[in-house]
C-alpha cells in the first residue's frame, strides 16, 4: 500500500478527493430525502387539520379552525383525554415506586435470583406489547377482575417500569460513589445519605424517565387494547373513530398531540442530558 501511495501520490489523492466530494454530495441529498420522509407525513397531518374540507385531498380548499372548535365540544373526546391523563399519571407514579427501588437494588444489592429478576423486569421492553397485554388479560380474568381504567393502569405500569429501571440504573452506575461514602463517614444515617446525597444525584434521571413513561402511557395502544373496559383512553378513542372513517377532526387532535409530545420530549431530554444540579 505504501508503494502505491509513493508511486503516484498526486493522482491517487485527487481521485480520492473527487470520490469524497461526490459521496458527500450524494449523502447530503439522501439525508434531505430521509428528513422529508420523516417529516412530510407529520406536516400533512398538521396542514389538513386547518383545511376547510371534510375530505383529505389536494388541492387545499381554505383555512379553518372549525375542526379544533369541534374538538372542544366533543364530550367523548374530552372524557377520553381526561381518562388518558388519569391513566398516565397514576401509571407513572407506580412505575417510579417500583422502578427506582428496582434500579437501586440492581445497582448495589446482591441477592439470589438477581439475574432472573433483571431479565423479568426488562422483558416488557423487549417483548411486543401484545404479549404483555394478552398475558395480563389472562391474569385479570383468572382473578375475576373486571376490566377498567385501573387494569389499564396496572398494565401500563408493568410495561413501563423497565424504562425507569434502565434510565435510573444507568445514572446510578455513572454516579460517583465516594460522595456517599463521605456522607456515611461524616455520620449520616443510610436514609439521610439516600435522601440528601443519592436522590439529588439521580433526580433528573427520575424526572426524565417519569416524563418518558407518561408520554408512552398516554400514547399506548397494544396493552390498553386488551385491558380496557368501557372507558376509552385517548388513543383508543382515536382508534375507534378511525374505524368509522377518516375525519379532519382526528388531524386536529393529532396536531395537538404532536405539539404536546414535543413540549414533553424537550423537557425530558434536557432532564436526561444534564446530570446533577
Amino acid at each position: 500500500m505504501t508503494t502505491r501511495a509513493r508511486k503516484n501520490p498526486t493522482t491517487a489523492s485527487t481521485i480520492d478527493r473527487l470520490v469524497e466530494r461526490f459521496s458527500s454530495m450524494s449523502l447530503a441529498g439522501f439525508a434531505v430525502l430521509v428528513m422529508t420522509f420523516l417529516y412530510l407525513p407529520i406536516l400533512i397531518l398538521v396542514i389538513f387539520s386547518f383545511n376547510d374540507d371534510r375530505s383529505l385531498t389536494l388541492p387545499l380548499s381554505g383555512f379553518t379552525t372549525r375542526w379544533y372548535v369541534a374538538l372542544f365540544s366533543n364530550e367523548d373526546l374530552l372524557e377520553a383525554i381526561f381518562n388518558s391523563f388519569y391513566v398516565a399519571t397514576v401509571a407513572t407514579v407506580i412505575t417510579l415506586i417500583i422502578g427506582v427501588p428496582a434500579a437501586i437494588a440492581l445497582d448495589r444489592i446482591e441477592f439470589p435470583g438477581k439475574t432472573l429478576f433483571r431479565r423479568f423486569v426488562l422483558l416488557p421492553i423487549a417483548l411486543p406489547g401484545v404479549i404483555t397485554g394478552v398475558s395480563m388479560l389472562n391474569l385479570f380474568k383468572l382473578m375475576g377482575m373486571n376490566l377498567s381504567l385501573e387494569t389499564v393502569i396496572l398494565g401500563h405500569a408493568t410495561g413501563l417500569v423497565s424504562i425507569v429501571v434502565t434510565q435510573v440504573f444507568a445514572r446510578l452506575q455513572r454516579m460517583n460513589r465516594s460522595v456517599e461514602e463521605v456522607s456515611a463517614d461524616l455520620g449520616a444515617k443510610p436514609w439521610q445519605t439516600f435522601f440528601l446525597v443519592t436522590l439529588p444525584n439521580i433526580k433528573t434521571a427520575i424526572i426524565g424517565s417519569a416524563l418518558l413513561s407518561f408520554t408512552v402511557s398516554f400514547d399506548e395502544i397494544p396493552v390498553t387494547f386488551f385491558l380496557t373496559g368501557r372507558d376509552n383512553t385517548l388513543p383508543m378513542y382515536i382508534w375507534s373513530t378511525l374505524r368509522r372513517g377518516i375525519t379532519p377532526e382526528i388531524n386536529a387532535v393529532g396536531t395537538l398531540i404532536v405539539l404536546g409530545s414535543l413540549v414533553l420530549i424537550f423537557i425530558s431530554v434536557r432532564m436526561l442530558r444534564n446530570p446533577g444540579n
Binding site: 430521509v34 420523516l38 407525513p41 389536494l58 418518558l212 409530545s261
Partner: protein, 289 residues
C-alpha cells in the same frame, strides 16, 4: 461481603415491592399463557389439558403457517428498508457534518417522531396512501394519474412503508452510537496508508458499525414482528400479521388456548432473535479488542 442485619433489612425493604410486582404482573401472567397454550378449546371457553394440539395446528394449518411466514417476511423487509435509509443518513450525520451542534440537532430530529403518537404516525399514512388520499389527489392534480388508484393502500407495500416510517429511528440510534465510537484517527490512519475512501469504508467503518447494524435490525425486526396496529390501519387482508391473529383469538374467535400458543411462539421468536444478536454483537466487540 457480609451484610449486617440492619443492611439486610433495608435491602429486603428495597427489594420486596419490585420483586412482588414482577412476580405478580410479569412472571405469573407469562406462566398462565404458557399453561393455557396446552389447554384445549371447548365451546364456549376452554378446558385444562396437556396436549400439543394448538402448536400442531399452528404449524400444520396453512392459514397460520402463512401468517407466520408473512410476518417474518414483512419484518425482514422493514428491517432492510430501515437499514437502507438509516445507514447512509447516519453516516452523513457522523462523518460529514462538522458541527457537533448541528449533528445533535439532526439526530434529535430523527428520534423525536418516536415520541409522537404511534397511532397517528400510522394513521397519517392511511390518509396519504388512500384512494381518496393526499398522494392520489396530488398525482391526479399534476396529471400523472387520470383517476385515483387503490394500489397504494391495503397491501404489503403500505405495510412496509408505514412500519419503516414508524421504526426507522430504532435503526438510526444504535448505528449512530457505533459510528460515534469509531476513533477518527483510525480512518485518518487508513487514509494515510493510501487506502481509498471506499476500501476504508469496507475495511474500517463497516466492520466497526456491524454491532450497530445488528442491534438496529433486531429492534426493527422484533418491533415489526409484534405489531398489529399498522396492519389494522393500512394492511388489508394481505397484510394480516401474527399479532392480529392473536388479537382475534382473544376476541371474536374466542380461542384463548390457540391465542396463547401463538403468543408463546412470538415470545420465543423475539427472545431467540434478541439473544442471537446479543451474541453477534459481543463477538463483534471481541474482534475489536
Amino acid at each position: 461481603m457480609k451484610l449486617s442485619t440492619r443492611n439486610r433489612l433495608s435491602a429486603a425493604g428495597i427489594l420486596s415491592l419490585p420483586v412482588l410486582w414482577t412476580t405478580v404482573f410479569l412472571f405469573i401472567p407469562y406462566a398462565i399463557i404458557f399453561t393455557y397454550s396446552f389447554y384445549q378449546k371447548q365451546f364456549p371457553t376452554f378446558v385444562p389439558a396437556f396436549q400439543f394440539g394448538n402448536y400442531a395446528l399452528i404449524f400444520t394449518d396453512p392459514q397460520y403457517v402463512q401468517v407466520l411466514l408473512r410476518t417474518a417476511k414483512i419484518a425482514l423487509i422493514v428491517a432492510a428498508c430501515a437499514l437502507f435509509l438509516a445507514y447512509p443518513f447516519t453516516y452523513f450525520l457522523v462523518f460529514k457534518i462538522k458541527s457537533p451542534r448541528v449533528r445533535l440537532m439532526l439526530y434529535m430530529a430523527v428520534i423525536v417522531p418516536l415520541w409522537v403518537s404511534y397511532l397517528l404516525r400510522a394513521y397519517t399514512w392511511k390518509t396519504i396512501l388512500g384512494s381518496e388520499g393526499v398522494l392520489n389527489s396530488f398525482l391526479v392534480m399534476i396529471g400523472v394519474l387520470d383517476q385515483p388508484s387503490d394500489i397504494f393502500l391495503y397491501n404489503q407495500f403500505s405495510m412496509v412503508v408505514t412500519l419503516t416510517y414508524i421504526f426507522v429511528p430504532f435503526m438510526v440510534m444504535p448505528i449512530y452510537t457505533s459510528m460515534e465510537k469509531i476513533p477518527r484517527n483510525l480512518i485518518e490512519a487508513s487514509k494515510d496508508l493510501g487506502v481509498g475512501p471506499f476500501r476504508t469504508f469496507l475495511k474500517v467503518t463497516l466492520p466497526l458499525t456491524t454491532p450497530g447494524i445488528v442491534a438496529g435490525a433486531t429492534f426493527t425486526y422484533c418491533l415489526t414482528f409484534g405489531d398489529f396496529i399498522a396492519s389494522f390501519l393500512v394492511g388489508g387482508p394481505d397484510g394480516l400479521m401474527v399479532a392480529n391473529v392473536i388479537t382475534s383469538q382473544f376476541g371474536a374467535a374466542l380461542n384463548w388456548p390457540l391465542g396463547s400458543a401463538l403468543a408463546i411462539i412470538m415470545l420465543i421468536v423475539v427472545l431467540t432473535i434478541i439473544s442471537l444478536s446479543d451474541r453477534v454483537e459481543r463477538s463483534g466487540r471481541l474482534d475489536l479488542a
